[in-house]
Amino acid sequence: MKFWLSVVAGLGFAMIATVTIAARPTISLVIENHRFQPTELRIPAATKVLLLIENRDSTPEEFESTDFNREKIVMPKSTIKVFVGPLDKGRYKFFGEFHQDTAQGVLIVE
């Protein structure tokens, strides 16, 4: 019994480890003049991706999405990384909290 429990636990850890180590698709997003470029991002469903967000403006921005629960400051002239997903198919909005009039975008999971 104990043996099988440890086998199951070991397999579990191995699975988590593989999932974490496996290379993630990386997608780039640029903030310029308080707008996102591109305004539409496409990622596959049920996959964790790494979003690289570069702020080319001279003022800070906050990348935020309530649809996929992310929130991170992007300092001027710098790049942040944000892990996103795995998500179900659908449209998920994101925005720049500090410039909501212009900084709007959508993540399309397909």
């Binding site: 800070p60 400051i73 998500l87 179900d88």
Partner: protein, 282 residues
């Protein structure tokens, strides 16, 4: 300017709600107004420092410094609140009795009360640093009416906090500390859930289900009531499994701690208190 007011209001509201719960929970403590003001002042200074070093913090832990910093601040607040409520569960009754008989002059004395003022400082620090960065960006961009927006947002957030504080004061004295204690327990659960959210974002924790449910159509987290509930009870319209776990674990640990501390102690007399008793008899 409306945009500035709204953003400032949003951030101030979060801190103001936490301050109002702490203010209620420390009712009757001597000079608590001074302590709370000091906590807020400390928080604002901290917020400016954090904003100044935001670039540095962001690059720590290979780009995950921000998440880890936020999670640490939140978890520190959880520990402080936890310590206080567990301590209060064995001393709260005496405190309430003392207040009823002696009136308003309970000595803070305990370190547990000081911890709550630390919670005020941390809440202000976390929300304040975002406001500072936002305002800095606006002023660098030459926006108009920045100060007016800041003032209105501050006033609005503070007003909601006051409303909540005076609402809490209407609770009858015999239930008062029980209610504020429970509010602190639930608040700690919510803060732990938010911390788990940051660690998930940093990929330090598994999600255990990325979005367990979606109640955004029912009650959006961006709405005033949604955001208020987010702070008070940790409401999230699309929670991850690990956030729910963090919430449940925190509340459970605190409840067990409170029960354990308030258990009847007829046989087990702590060594320290008997020693104190001996000294007093002398």
């Amino acid at each position: 300017m409306l945009g500035i007011t709204l953003l400032v209001f949003r951030e101030v509201l979060e801190a103001a709600l936490i301050v109002s719960i702490v203010a209620a929970a420390t009712r009757g403590v001597l000079r608590r107004g001074g302590y709370i003001s000091a906590g807020i002042a400390l928080g604002i200074s901290g917020a400016i420092l954090v904003a100044l070093f935001a670039g540095r913090i962001a690059t720590l832990a290979s780009g995950l410094g921000q998440e880890l910093f936020n999670a640490s601040v939140l978890l520190a607040a959880v520990v402080m609140i936890g310590w206080h409520v567990v301590w209060m569960s064995s001393h709260g009754r005496e405190l309430a009795k003392q207040m009823q008989t002696v009136g308003h002059s309970v000595q803070a004395g305990s370190s547990s009360m000081a911890l709550l003022f630390g919670v005020v400082a941390l809440a202000v620090l976390r929300e304040g640093s975002e406001v500072v960065l936002f305002l800095y960006g606006l002023m660098a961009g030459g926006a108009n009416n920045v100060w007016l927006g800041l003032g209105l947002g501050l006033a609005g957030g503070a007003a909601v906090g006051m409303l909540m504080y005076f609402g809490l004061l209407r609770i009858p004295m015999r239930h008062f500390f029980a209610v504020t204690n429970w509010m602190l327990v639930i608040l700690a659960g919510g803060l732990a859930a938010t911390a788990a959210g940051y660690l998930l974002q940093a990929d330090w924790l598994p999600a255990f289900g990325n979005q367990l449910w979606n109640s955004s159509a029912l009650l959006s987290e961006r709405s005033l009531s949604g955001q208020t509930l987010h702070i008070l009870v940790g409401y999230t319209d699309r929670p991850a499994g690990v956030q729910l776990l963090a919430w449940g674990f925190t509340v459970m640990v605190l409840v067990v701690g409170m029960r354990w501390m308030s258990r009847p102690r007829l046989l087990a007399v702590p060594a320290t208190s008997s020693a104190e008793g001996a000294v007093l008899q002398d």
